[in-house]
Subunit: 142 residues, 2 copies
DNA sequence: TTATTTTCAGACATAGAACTCTTAAAGCGA
DNA sequence: TCGCTTTAAGAGTTCTATGTCTGAAAATAA
């Protein structure tokens, strides 16, 4: 994967919340169980996401988390970079020191295109769009 | 980067050896210095690469390493996977559990294409081809 | 034969990612 | 008010990647 487990867990949790039909509160343990993520670790990640404004949290009986409008409008890239820092290392696949746009290695240009497309792939759609379209796909299998 | 520092160091070292015009022996400390890689650590990586048959090693005065025919004909992907295990996690960028070719998430198909192209990029050319073409690029800047 | 050089090999150390554990804080229901 | 529930928060542990250190082994030169 192109990001860390922490980033992946954040994305899976936010998509899980985005796919809830009703805006009920979901406990972190429920997300952890459903997504098979270590519960304590996910709780910490969700705490950070609450701090960043991607989820609203409610303590106590009947408490839990729900997705915020900010998160719905954010892209996967935005959320992952917020949680773990820059996602894709810009360095070329050959790792060559002198490789650059001026003196490109043989793989550089294609790599640059692929890297840009990956960026675009995870930044051009919002979390809400991804979640809604996937919910439709699961409802109407081809 | 899509692979670990260890994998990257292995690739950089093998490309360094591939770019030597003469088949002289190069000491691991020279590669480390040139590529700014921790010398002791690179020595360990080169030992493993010698075991896998990617370099020939010679102890003692005037000793060092040189690239093998096997390595010249191998791809970046083959070498990296030998050194660090499978490179690209096949999992989709959304990390969705149920996402598959049967029930693809909205990003799945494009991601699958990109992933396949990355694989192809680092497996379709040999180390020798990459090194030679890059040496030409450095000789004749545009 | 000895000194020097360089790789070989394993033990060890460090740093960061991933994860666990425990207690405090806050909220709800009775 | 109390008991229970769930999040908040920090300390701590484990695992893995990265890196260091030291001595052995092997080879060359003198």
């Amino acid at each position: 994967m192109i990001y860390t487990k922490t980033g992946e867990y954040a994305i899976r949790a936010i998509l899980f919340l985005a796919r809830q039909s009703k805006e009920t509160l979901i406990m972190s343990s429920e997300i952890a169980k459903s997504e098979e993520i270590p519960a304590h670790y996910l709780a910490k990640i969700l705490q950070r996401m609450a701090k960043y404004g991607y989820v609203d949290s409610f303590k106590g009986r009947g408490g839990g988390f729900k997705i915020t409008e900010l998160a719905k409008k954010s892209s996967i890239l935005e959320i992952v970079e917020r949680v773990e820092g820059p996602v894709i290392n810009l360095k070329c696949v050959t790792g060559l020191k002198e490789c650059s746009d001026e003196t490109p290695c043989p793989l550089h240009e294609e790599w640059a295109e692929l890297r840009n497309r990956i960026y675009n792939l995870i930044s051009s759609k919002s979390v809400q769009e991804v979640a809604e379209k996937y919910t439709e796909t699961l409802r109407k299998p081809s």
